[in-house]
Amino acid sequence: MLPGQIGFISLVFSLFISLILFFFIFQDYKSESQAPSLKVYSLSFLQLLTIIISFFCLVLSFVISDFSLAAVYQNSHTTKPLLYKISGTWGNHEGSLLLWLLVLSIFSFCFLVQSKYTPKKYRLLTVLFQNIITIGFLLFVIKTSNPFLNLFPVPNEGLGLNPILQDPALAIHPPILYLGYVGSSIIFSSALSAMIHKFVNPSWADSIKIWILTPWIFLTLGIMLGSIWAYYELGWGGFWFWDPVENVSLMPWFSLTALVHSIIILKKRDTFHTWVLILAIITFTFSMNGTFLVRSGILNSVHTFANDPERGFYILTFLFLLILLSLIIFFIYQPKDNFVKSFFLFSRETAISVNNWFMMFFLSAVLIGTIYPLILEITKDIKISVGAPFFNIIIIPFLVPFLFFMIFGPKLKWIKTNENLMSKKLIFNFFLSLVFSSIIYFFWGKATLLNSIIFLLGLFLLLTLLFEFLETITKKNKVNIPRIISHFGFGLLIVSISLNTIFSVEMDINLKIGESYKFKKYELKFNSISGKVEKNFNSLLGSFSLTDPKGDISYLKPEIRIYNQPSITTSEANIKTNFFYDRFITMNNIQNSDFFNIRFQQKPMMIWIWVSALLISLGGILSVFRQKD
């Protein structure tokens, strides 16, 4: 139908425009003007416009349920609510690539417009590199992943989307995540361009900062949304599983966080040129790597995306060529420091270097854990699993020194710190944290020493930041508010996860209707089951009452849903949230018996985990607005 045809034509048009753009960039490059020509601006805009039109046509096709398009037929259904029809656009491989292209072109054009105060040739070359990436993806989509492929005869009804994927958090998770992944392309292109034009200096650092912060903010939010979806939808009570696809989003986050910090050094001390460039290339590599690994089918994961080796092959080749290009450029144009600056031990530069040091460690742990099974399988034909135990053992102990540096590092001054950092307030904070964590450690048997120490340091970090914040108000000290907020968010995350780990109560039992179960002064009673017929599923709603040690009763209603299109049975958790904990219950019926398997969990601080992720990104958002001043 018409939107589909327009969409496809627009996409092909975009490819032609991109090729023409190449030519005009070269032309403009040689010219003497101080700013990119109008032709470059308008072609860039046209490139963006055609992709927007194409994307919009696909969304429209989903909304009107145009089943002449294979993508709509396979992934949509007339009875789906509007929100999920729209989000279904990017809930499949082809559509998500179109979304990728959309974000790529938006960023490219925005960069062109925003980079006004930087040298023309640098801007043009950055846009050129972006254009290469765009063309690569356009070819990929048109040739192997065309969302506008037609079906004939046109079916009456679609195959419907998996009900697990019909969730608000999951609906916006891809766009937000892509803003993070794809945003790192600008850093990549800009880094290469800056290298070639010998523009790697504090001025460049200042101009690129916003292009580092923006993807970082979105990547943080994107990861958070994925966790929220997993927690609320999958019904296992966990929010992070070290699943390969989760790991693949975490890796660029580590290098991007390192970049956020080290770009400050480049700006303030005019050093770390090579390192920043390396980080820029690494970040983009991991973002692209993410796309590849998720779609190629070589990883075992909860995410089921199109498992098509051909597509994986294409992306891998493209990625390989891009990295090779960046390596060659790096080799030829690597900036040379004529003067190797060294840092003083007690300086902020050292503290930031330490941050990068740990970020790279965490990154390498996640990287090796994720791809090692692959390497082993190919080279030795041995199949192993690398799961949570590995990552926890390697990463968690290192949080101890990391938190320690986070507490003291920001107090150090640039170049050299002469004053004594120890203050009465600091010692007071430390002892307060020590008291709390000792109470937890000594009076709650499930707290390990490591957990308690991490909790101690997390709390210490929070208190220190709180005092720093109060000092801004009372003493009018100039302090970096975004940093305080982001670091506070991180501290809150550590504290919340520690408390969550230590104080979680879990119970896994089989009950019949009418039975009850007592544990630790709580009592869970299975009252009844009621059945209901909804629009596209049959529902079995369990009614449970939980009596807590005080005698208060709360009611929990887990649900089993039996869908007909596609025929899937899901277990919907009932989650009751308050400020202190979440109560989480799921119900599954046991094959061939009257028993139901009931899992009840009481998970403290869940809501604070989400809040802390929001705080971390809030710091970034505030920093972006400060840039604009």
């Binding site: 599983f241 000594f442 046991i590």
Partner: protein
């Protein structure tokens, strides 16, 4: 004297609370082991997380073995002999996994050297 008494009480409490966990029903151990076993018919779930028949079955077998007195390692060995190394989430300390466990620490070490050079090597001019 009062201080010593107080400390003794604290220590006593500490040990008593830590030992108050009943080890008889093995449920804590079951949970610990289950978190480390992959559910083979699920995508990316441990058998602790999963409610599939396979998971329930394996958990039952593990509990039976625990009650008979098998150790954690014996249970892992048993499951690996039936289903392959893949079923256990924690990679073993075998020779072929050496790189896996060592590379992150190696990277950390390299990073440490680089930082050391940055701090402790005096400013140099390179011609």
């Amino acid at each position: 004297m009062k201080n010593k008494l107080f400390i003794l009480i604290l220590i006593g409490l500490f040990f008593s609370i830590n030992n108050s966990y009943s080890k008889e029903d093995h449920l804590d151990e079951l949970k610990k082991i289950s978190k480390n076993i992959r559910c083979l018919i699920c995508q990316g779930q441990s058998i602790d997380d999963s409610n599939s028949d396979f998971a329930i079955n394996i958990k039952y077998v593990i509990l039976k073995k625990l009650n008979k007195g098998s150790s954690e390692d014996e249970i892992y060995d048993f499951l690996k002999s039936k289903y392959g190394d893949w079923i256990v989430y924690k990679p073993e300390f075998k020779l072929y996994n050496l790189l896996l466990w060592l590379i992150p620490y190696f990277i950390f070490f390299i990073g440490g050297i680089l930082i050391y050079q940055k701090i402790f090597k005096k400013n140099e001019k390179i011609q």
